[in-house]
């Protein structure tokens, strides 16, 4: 049992190590003066095919994009939860299977509701 | 074989409808004075026997004392074509009537003639430079452009 948690601990350490190095690498290289640093205002302005941007992009756009995001979020969480379950399906046995069925059923009800309300149709 | 309609025959028909609009009619082209251009063009486009509904190209030539604008019109069903010319004599701010409402294909070509040759087309929805930028001095394709 301990070795299983040991694996998770190892996985956690590697994950943290990886994120920290990728974040700190450019900072340290810049500190060691390997990466040249020449900031100028044009370099930090947004790139729009070689032109200056026109007007503001913080504008009010269509509300339906929000529905897309919501439906995606629901189904994405379901997928994330399915992965670990699918990996060790045999150890969990039928009780694990029932739990997952309940979870899928809940998300399925939400999906049917969104479908009936014609959320994704673009009027 | 695209038959080039003979200028004389078409000029004869036009003389009846639009008296005084034909300045000169060569072997395969008609020269129309500029203010009756739109009427003649509409007639050429809509009459049954001619229906020249395809504007092939518009170009302008600078002959020092006058500009000559050449339109080639083609009819896709009858497979015949006609060259229509107008002349405008002012040098500083030449203007002509735009044929965009008859043939939408004239849109960019007229803007390009304005940009490079300096001939303004009245009635064009978007009459501004097409290939050069707004602050450009002069019109490059003119013969007296340095």
């Amino acid at each position: 049992m301990v070795s299983n948690y040991g694996y998770i601990g190892l996985f956690l350490v590697v994950a943290i190590l990886f994120t920290v190095t990728t974040l700190l690498l450019p900072v340290s290289l810049r500190f060691l003066k390997i990466i040249p640093k020449k900031p100028d205002p044009v370099k930090s302005s947004t790139f729009e095919c070689g032109m200056e941007t026109i007007g503001k992009s913080w504008v009010q756009f269509n509300f339906r994009y929000y529905f897309y995001a919501l439906v995606f979020l629901a189904l994405d969480v379901l997928v994330v939860l399915l992965y670990p379950w699918a990996v060790n399906l045999r150890e969990l046995g039928t009780s694990g299977f029932i739990m997952i069925l309940v979870l899928i059923f809940i998300i399925f009800v939400g999906y049917i509701y969104a479908w009936r309300k014609k959320v994704l149709e673009w009027k | 074989m695209t038959v080039a309609l003979s200028g004389k025959e078409i000029a004869g028909q036009l003389e009846g409808k639009f008296p005084g609009s034909i300045v000169e009619s060569g072997r395969d082209c008609i020269v129309v004075n500029s203010d009756s251009l739109l009427a003649v063009a509409a007639f050429l486009k809509d009459t049954q026997g001619l229906d020249l509904d395809y504007l092939n190209y518009i170009t302008a030539i600078d002959y020092y004392d006058h500009f000559e604008v050449v339109y080639q019109l083609v009819s896709l069903e009858h497979n015949h074509s006609l060259v229509l010319k107008t002349r405008c004599y002012q040098r500083d701010n030449p203007t002509l009537l735009s044929v965009v409402n008859l043939w939408q294909g004239a849109d960019f070509q007229e803007r390009e003639i304005y940009d490079l040759m300096g001939i303004r087309f009245e009635g064009h929805p978007n009459m501004k430079r097409i290939v050069l930028w707004e602050g450009f001095q002069g019109h490059p394709l003119r013969k007296d452009y340095l």
């Binding site: 007007g55 | 190209y57 030539i61 497979n79 043939w103 294909g105 290939v131």
Partner: protein
């Protein structure tokens, strides 16, 4: 309840991977849907028509190479036809056949890039275009054999062709003409009923028949809308009346029809090259034309069916060694007239495909 949304302006600008060169669409967007679009040109305007007025008639030929740099052979052919019509110069038989073979090879090469770039815009990233560039390399080798250059050939002269073809050209051409239909069938097997391509291109960017004629579109754009108009049949120039080939036309005038028209045209071009190869006579490749031509005072307009549409040269001469005026009827610029009406109402992804299906070349648009 009305959803209040605000438009914002986006530059699908000059340095954009899918605008086939330096073309800018200043589009006003409402969310993803294009409300208004204004095409902006001029980023490659080199003033070729002004430069042509300071060069001799033969000196203008290298300029015409750089007009539509994907179909330089066709530009040379159109310009030489115009000067020959102006000066009344005869062209020997062998030169006529060589011109037809090279112009049709150039049409295949240009259509390969057109179709490849169109599929690239549809999202089939780099796969089809790499296949099609592989075929185009074979054509560029043939051109390399003939005139030593891969892109800007400067091969045709007033009164014929600059030099005869080497003897290994015909076997290589025979091998290419044998393989090419197989390659085109290969593309069709992948792409003809590909449901992604059908979903993305069918019914998108409809150019109706009347709008196509009214905005004087030409070439595959016009034929895609069902108008059977091809200069090689309607007004046969050089010796095109000796070959049989048919003209593919689309029905609905959407992006898929224009794509199908271009693929079919490649097959017809192979047919023409086969017939031209058998009837290729021997003899001189260039009539005696003085180096400095003095055409009589007057004007002439000659047009050909270039891969992108009707390419014409309108020359005015005043009996001097340089053209008084050399106007180029650029098919790409005129095909773009209807772009705004085809794009408004669609999303950005569709606008990129509609623009790709018109297949323009910026060297010709801006001249």
């Amino acid at each position: 309840m009305a959803l209040k949304t605000e438009p914002f302006v986006l530059n699908i600008g000059p340095a954009h991977p899918s605008t086939h060169g330096v073309f800018r669409m200043r589009s006003t967007l409402d969310g993803e849907v294009i409300v208004d679009m204004e095409p902006v040109f001029g980023y490659l305007h080199r003033g070729i028509e002004k430069l042509a007025e300071e060069r001799t008639y033969t000196g203008v030929i290298p300029l015409t190479d750089r007009l539509d740099y994907l179909a330089s052979m066709s530009n040379n052919l159109a310009y030489c036809l115009a000067v020959e019509k102006l000066a009344g110069i005869e062209v020997p038989e062998r030169a006529e056949y060589l011109r037809v073979i090279l112009a049709e090879l150039q049409r295949i090469a240009s259509h390969l890039i057109a179709v490849g770039a169109f599929l690239n815009d549809c999202g089939a990233f780099m796969t089809p275009i790499l296949y099609m560039i592989r075929e185009r390399e074979k054509i560029l080798d043939l051109f390399d054999m003939v005139c030593g250059q891969r892109l800007t050939y400067n091969f045709m002269r007033v009164g014929g062709v600059s030099q005869d073809i080497p003897e290994e050209f015909l076997p290589a051409l025979r091998r290419f003409v044998g393989q090419m239909p197989g390659f085109i069938d290969e593309y069709d097997r992948f792409l003809k009923e590909n449901e992604i391509l059908l979903a993305r291109a069918k019914g998108v960017g409809i150019l109706t028949r009347e709008m196509a004629i009214n905005s004087s579109a030409g070439g595959p754009v016009l034929r895609g809308s069902g108008v059977k108009w091809d200069i090689r049949k309607a007004d046969p120039y050089s010796i095109y009346d000796r070959f049989e080939f048919d003209i593919p036309t689309g029905a609905a005038g959407d992006c898929y029809d224009r794509y199908r028209v271009r693929v079919e045209e490649m097959r017809q071009s192979v047919r023409i090259i086969k017939q031209a190869m058998e009837q290729l006579p021997s003899g001189p490749v260039r009539s005696e034309v003085p180096h400095l031509i003095h055409p009589p005072v007057g004007e002439a307009y000659a047009h050909i069916e270039a891969p992108k549409g009707e390419l014409g040269f309108y020359l005015v001469s005043d009996n001097s060694i340089a053209p008084y005026r050399c106007h180029v009827r650029a098919p790409s610029l005129i095909n773009l007239t209807a772009l705004r009406d085809m794009v408004v109402g669609w999303k950005i992804a569709d606008a990129i495909i509609i623009f790709g299906s018109i297949d323009i070349c910026m060297g010709e648009v801006d001249r």
